[in-house]
Amino acid sequence: MPRSAFLDLARPSRRHWLGYLLLAPAVLLIALIIVYPLFVSVDLSFQNVNIARLDQPRRPFTTANYERLFASEDFWNACWVTFKLVTIVSFFCFLLGLGTALLVNNRFKGQALARLLVALPWAIPEVIAVVIFAWLFDSSFGLMNWLFIKVGLVDQTINWFSSPDAAFAVVCTVMVWKGYPFVSIMMLAGLQSIPEDFYNAAKVDGARAWQRLIHITIPSLMPVIGVTLVLVMLWVFRDFSIIYVLTGGGPLKATQSLSIMTYEQAFGFFKMGYASAIGVITLIVCVIASRLMIARAPDNI
């Protein structure tokens, strides 16, 4: 079958063209729906715009959004809330994720089922998780209030969503429940890549179970732990659905993270220029964090 020599990508000298050809659709699409919007976003953050209108001429350049932002108490409050959330949720996600992973990594009958169950919350959409916990923490008939009174932790029902601290605690609970399965899955993958011989050698050397955990398991998991930690922190940092549907950022902005504040400013108050400025700040944090992760990734590209 004669082929045109020029277009014949099977020829050794033409084959690398195919590499570019295959990348082209992705590059084009990514440029259109990710790169271009990112530019628009940065551009908006330097304009005094309320509703983003691309068909209108560009407003004059201004740094007013950023000046207002850094002077705003709400912004620093949102930073503090976000920081607390990231720290607390990541910590408990790790505790629970690593714990469950170590637990179901033991060999026992029904291990497959246990592994399935332990990571099950992964399969619950965030919005549904919120529905579940909103009902569990319902102030009048929620199971948690009943349980807390029954156990004697409190003597009257708590109105979970009108107390700043309580609402924050509920947000953390939902996020931990939704987030730990990812840690668990990653840790299990990590655990399974530790050669059995390490443990056998340690056993021969007389290491106890907890010594094996400290001296073999944790160090071997370190690379996976690093990557997972960054991913979990970024997830908490970015998360919108859980907080927005559960509390909307309230009460008294006690759960208003940077993501929520961005969204509120953009679509609640229609201050998209200002919102973009917050978004750009979050973008910078995300980029730095992901670069850190890439640098630490076990087998880099």
């Binding site: 079958m1 082929r3 014949d8 099977a10 020829r11 050794p12 000298s13 084959r15």
Partner: protein, 373 residues
């Protein structure tokens, strides 16, 4: 079937040249083995020949056709890979018939040829299985079968035996040789194993660092290695090398070996006198007991294989070559191995008299490593 002409093919990645001016004429029906240590460029050459990689410069012709920039599928060649590369989603029969199908051969003809090839290789009963249900040896046969059914101008084989266990490797080696005798298809076979090269090849091309070291038949390669590298690579265990100095004596040249002045088997003696040389002596050319040149040693280690014995001896300091001169490992530089056939049992650590025939010595220039004859 056709001959292959490779003319000064070069391959470089950026600044790194992995193949330097490779030229080779292969006769129709010839079995040529490219051999060398890993990274010597032999696999790259094979991929360029197959059209899987682009040559940086040079030309390749199969038959009378210039195929330098032709697609692999248009070159009329078949290839056998180290990991067999069988299509996991296709049955054995479809694996073997895939190439014919791609060329639009009709189904009945494909069936006929697949069955014929399967009969030759004794895999008729496997035709409906998937590759993952086969043993390593069976997969290897299917890979050969896939090459055979195409009835190509040439077979290219890239270390096809290295994934087999030792016993099966020897067996399959003989089978490939037999297959070649039967089909007489030009074959280019790449391996790092000098035994495979010696047993299968009509001609061996030995390579190092992207450069051809010698092209010769196995016998010539063994008897007249072109340089130190070839001499050390071919043969098992490899040749022993002793550093020494050539001295002119009368019409000939001698060198001091183990305290004796030994006459070297060299025609052009005059130019050599006073130069640093390396003398090579194959382990199997050393005999136990006194002979023409005898020396007494205390073996460091004796390995007995029943029918033969390997005697390891520390080389005297004056015969050791400089570190890093040959690129082989340290122990070969500092020791001498004697391979004794049908040996008597002997206690280790007793002294032992060994001897050799000076006519068997190989002489190399110490600086360039080239053979001197």
């Amino acid at each position: 079937m056709a001959g292959i002409r490779i003319d000064s093919v070069t391959k470089s990645y950026g600044g790194l040249t992995v193949l330097k001016a490779f030229s080779l004429d292969i006769a129709d029906g010839e079995f040529v083995v490219l051999v060398g240590p890993s990274g010597c460029g032999k696999s790259t050459m094979l991929k360029i020949l197959a059209g899987l990689e682009e040559a940086s410069s040079g030309t390749i012709a199969i038959g009378e056709r210039d195929v330098t920039d032709l697609a692999p599928g248009d070159r009329d060649i078949a290839m056998v890979f180290q990991n067999y590369a069988l299509y996991p989603h296709l049955t054995v029969a479809r694996n073997m018939g895939f190439g014919l199908k791609m060329r639009g051969t009709d189904a009945a003809e494909i069936d006929r040829r697949v069955n014929e090839a399967a009969k030759i290789l004794g895999i008729g009963h496997l035709l409906e299985r998937r590759p993952r249900a086969l043993s390593g040896g069976q997969r290897q046969r299917v890979a050969l079968g896939r090459a055979i059914v195409r009835e190509p101008q040439a077979f290219l084989m890239d270390e096809p035996l290295s994934n087999l266990d030792a016993k099966l490797r020897v067996h399959t080696r003989a089978e490939i040789s037999a297959l070649h005798k039967r089909l007489r298809v030009t074959t280019i076979y790449v391996t790092h194993d000098q035994t495979e090269a010696m047993t299968m090849a009509d001609r061996i091309v030995i390579m190092k660092d992207g450069v051809i070291q010698q092209i010769a038949s196995p016998d010539v390669m063994f008897r007249e290695p072109a340089n130190l590298f070839v001499a050390g690579f071919i043969g098992s265990p490899g040749m022993n090398f002793l550093k020494t100095k050539a001295q002119a004596v009368g019409g000939g040249v001698t060198a001091k070996l183990f305290g004796h002045d030994v006459k070297l088997p060299i025609a052009n003696a005059a130019a050599l006198a006073g130069r640093e040389i390396v003398v090579g002596l194959r382990p199997e050319h050393i005999a136990a007991g006194a002979g023409q040149v005898s020396f007494t040693v205390t073996p460091r280690l004796i390995e007995s294989l029943g029918s033969e014995q390997y005697v390891y001896v520390d080389l005297p300091e004056e015969h050791r070559r400089d570190a890093g001169s040959g690129g082989e490992d340290e122990s070969r530089r500092t020791s001498l191995i004697a391979r004794l056939i049908n040996p008597e049992p002997r206690p280790p650590e007793a002294t032992l008299t060994l001897s050799f025939d000076p006519a068997r010595l190989h002489v190399f220039d110490a600086a360039s490593g080239e053979a001197i004859r």
